[in-house]
């Protein structure tokens, strides 16, 4: 869907050349979220802004749906790409409805269609269309503003979305809520999304693929699981953090784990009747925490209706991680 081919961005400062983006080749599949991850100044935002031609490309080319973007009209290209930025950038002189209708208006949709679309989008981002129609951006909280920002970018139903740290300025609680809502929306709309972030946890939560950058160069491109379980070099290893195995556990749920255990339902002993329970859709990191706090080293797995399915123990985690508790015991005993 989106293809970067040997893309570079070179800035001249005096007689020195600075490579903001250095020979990046990357392929993003349709309907996937690719998170550009890296420290500030690594070129991730520059790369993103080259896609809608806000920054001209120095070398190489970018293709969307097989079309070279340098051959397209930049104005039309931008209207076909949703764009969300960290500062939100809602237009203060326009009402919420006018803000959301900007691109449909630019594209010359008729009024009835724009109005219908506004209602749809507001429902989608969980805000009441009537309540906010005539209100202005300054009357909204930061979280609400960014919801409008996302709705505005989705207005003309563009196949591609560019999101530059959209949740970066929000407090952690609101950020997590918006991330979850964003995933829920994405499940329905299935856009191809390029998402810039410097937050590894955000990347793990949202990404289908992560691309990690360091000073303009692509370090590693892969699924969150690949990046966490098999970092390609020291930079990636440092960036994802030494708790990467714990982070990896957030990618899986109890359901994933017990599907790999034979005869899980039959496991039980009499004295295991305690109150340490996890639901089947809990992520494994939280589950591990429950298991560790349980005095017997195991926890009950319950289904959606709180019926106990079976008992999960610390040893089971070795299926998904590199922790090998059984092998570890003899070593510890010898010591």
């Amino acid at each position: 869907m989106i293809e970067f081919k040997n893309v570079s961005k070179i800035y001249e400062s005096g007689n020195k050349q600075v490579k903001a983006v250095d020979n990046v080749s990357l392929h993003i599949e349709k309907g996937q979220i690719c998170v550009f991850l890296g420290p500030s100044g690594c070129g991730k935002t520059t790369l993103l802004r080259m896609v809608n031609r806000l920054i001209p490309i120095s070398n190489g080319s970018i293709f969307i749906d097989g079309k070279d973007i340098s051959k397209l009209n930049p104005i039309e290209l931008r209207r076909s790409i949703g764009y969300v930025i960290q500062q939100v950038g809602l237009f203060p002189n326009m009402t919420i409805e006018e803000n959301i209708s900007v691109v449909p208006n630019l594209l010359g949709w008729d009024r009835a269609k724009i109005k219908k679309r506004y209602n749809e989008l507001m429902e989608m981002v969980g805000l009441d269309p009537e309540e906010y129609r005539k209100r202005f951006p300054w009357e909204l909280s930061g979280g609400q503003q960014q919801r409008i920002g996302v709705a505005r970018a989705l207005a003309a139903d563009p196949p591609v979305m560019l999101m530059d740290e959209p949740f970066g300025a929000l407090d952690p609680l609101i950020r997590e809520r918006l991330q979850n809502e964003f995933l829920r929306i994405q499940e329905n709309v299935k856009k191809t999304i390029l998402f810039v972030s410097h937050d590894i946890d955000e990347a793990i939560r949202l990404a289908d693929k992560i691309a990690i950058f360091k000073s303009g160069q692509l370090m590693q491109h892969g699924t969150p699981d690949e990046i966490l379980s098999n970092p390609k070099n020291d930079f990636v290893r440092d960036f994802v953090g030494s708790d990467r195995e714990l982070k990896r556990l957030t990618l899986f749920t109890v359901k994933d784990l017990i599907s790999k255990i034979d005869h899980f339902q039959k496991r039980t002993t009499r004295n295991d009747y305690h109150d340490f329970v996890v639901k089947v859709n809990t992520d494994l990191r939280t589950t591990l925490s429950v298991v560790l706090s349980s005095p017997t080293g195991n926890a009950w797995v319950v289904d959606e209706k709180d019926r106990r399915i079976g008992l999960l123990s610390l040893d089971d985690f070795e299926i998904v991680t590199d922790i090998h508790t059984k092998k570890l015991k003899p070593i510890v005993n010898q010591g």
């Binding site: 802004r49 809608n52 806000l54 104005i75 039309e76 290209l77 931008r78 209207r79 076909s80 790409i81 764009y83 930025i85 500062q87 939100v88 950038g89 809602l90 237009f91 203060p92 002189n93 326009m94 009402t95 900007v102 691109v103 630019l106 202005f136 951006p137 300054w138 505005r152 970018a153 560019l162």
Partner: protein, 248 residues
């Protein structure tokens, strides 16, 4: 808290100004200014008309010139050089009106045209400066969002830059017109007419009454115009940008 204190300060300031103006009127009454106006209503109306004409024409021409120039020099191509214009405008503002009049007079001679031209030149600067600063201070993330959504530079100007800079631009126009009402009294000195006629006649005759019969209408004209322009701001500035007043 700070806002409240600011409001209180503004209120006490307004009261002080109003009291001062009332004092002026009382003084004018006892000096016989109103008697003079009552005795010569025809003169006053003619002079007032001249005055309004000079102010109106020079202000209109100034707006028609300074706003487009301000827009022009804030275009990306020229943005690097806008400091020149701002500095020029700031320095230009320090030249006394009388000096401008004298300078222009030596080229254009005396009369109505010279008066209008000088006042036009003098009112350009606040409008120009406010237009440039207003457009420059529009939040860059708004422009970035607009551009990224596929607005043309023309659409960015009309839908984003101008509406968001309107407050500053109108403030510049308002300031310049109010100053202009006062400065236009000097037009009499170069044969341009206006209420300055009464003021300077009064001064030369040591007749405070006649002097005030010119000064009081000038003051009233300035206050009225300021009030009307304030109302106009409320009407044409987008509602989303008027939060400061509504919030209190």
């Amino acid at each position: 808290m700070i806002l409240v204190r600011g409001k209180k300060l503004e209120l006490s300031f307004r009261i002080a100004i109003t009291l001062l103006i009332i004092c002026l009127f009382i003084w004018a009454y006892f000096e016989g200014a109103f008697q003079f106006i009552k005795d010569n209503p025809g003169d006053l109306i003619i002079l007032l008309q001249q005055h309004v004409k000079i102010v109106g024409l020079s202000a209109m021409l100034a707006v028609a010139f300074a706003v487009p120039v301000g827009i022009f020099i804030t275009r990306p191509r020229f943005k690097k050089y806008d400091w020149i214009v701002i500095n020029f405008a700031n320095i230009g503002q320090t030249i006394p009106t009388l000096a401008v009049l004298a300078l222009i007079m030596s080229y254009l001679g005396i009369g109505y045209t010279t008066a209008v031209f000088s006042l036009w030149l003098y009112s350009l600067l606040p409008i120009l400066r406010n237009t440039v600063v207003g457009i420059k201070s529009v939040n860059p993330s708004i422009i970035d969002a607009g551009k990224g959504m596929g607005m043309t530079s023309w659409q960015i100007l009309w839908k984003l830059e101008l509406p968001n800079a309107l407050y500053a631009i109108l403030a510049g126009i308002r300031t310049s017109i109010v100053i202009n009402v006062g400065s236009a009294a000097l037009a009499f000195l170069i044969g341009g007419g206006g209420l300055g006629d009464l003021i300077f006649t009064g001064i030369s005759l040591y007749d405070t009454g006649i002097m005030l019969s010119g000064a009081v209408p000038v003051t009233l004209l300035a206050i009225t115009l300021d009030f009307l322009l304030g109302k106009l701001e409320k009407i044409i500035i987008p509602k989303g940008l008027q939060r400061n007043e509504e919030a209190v």
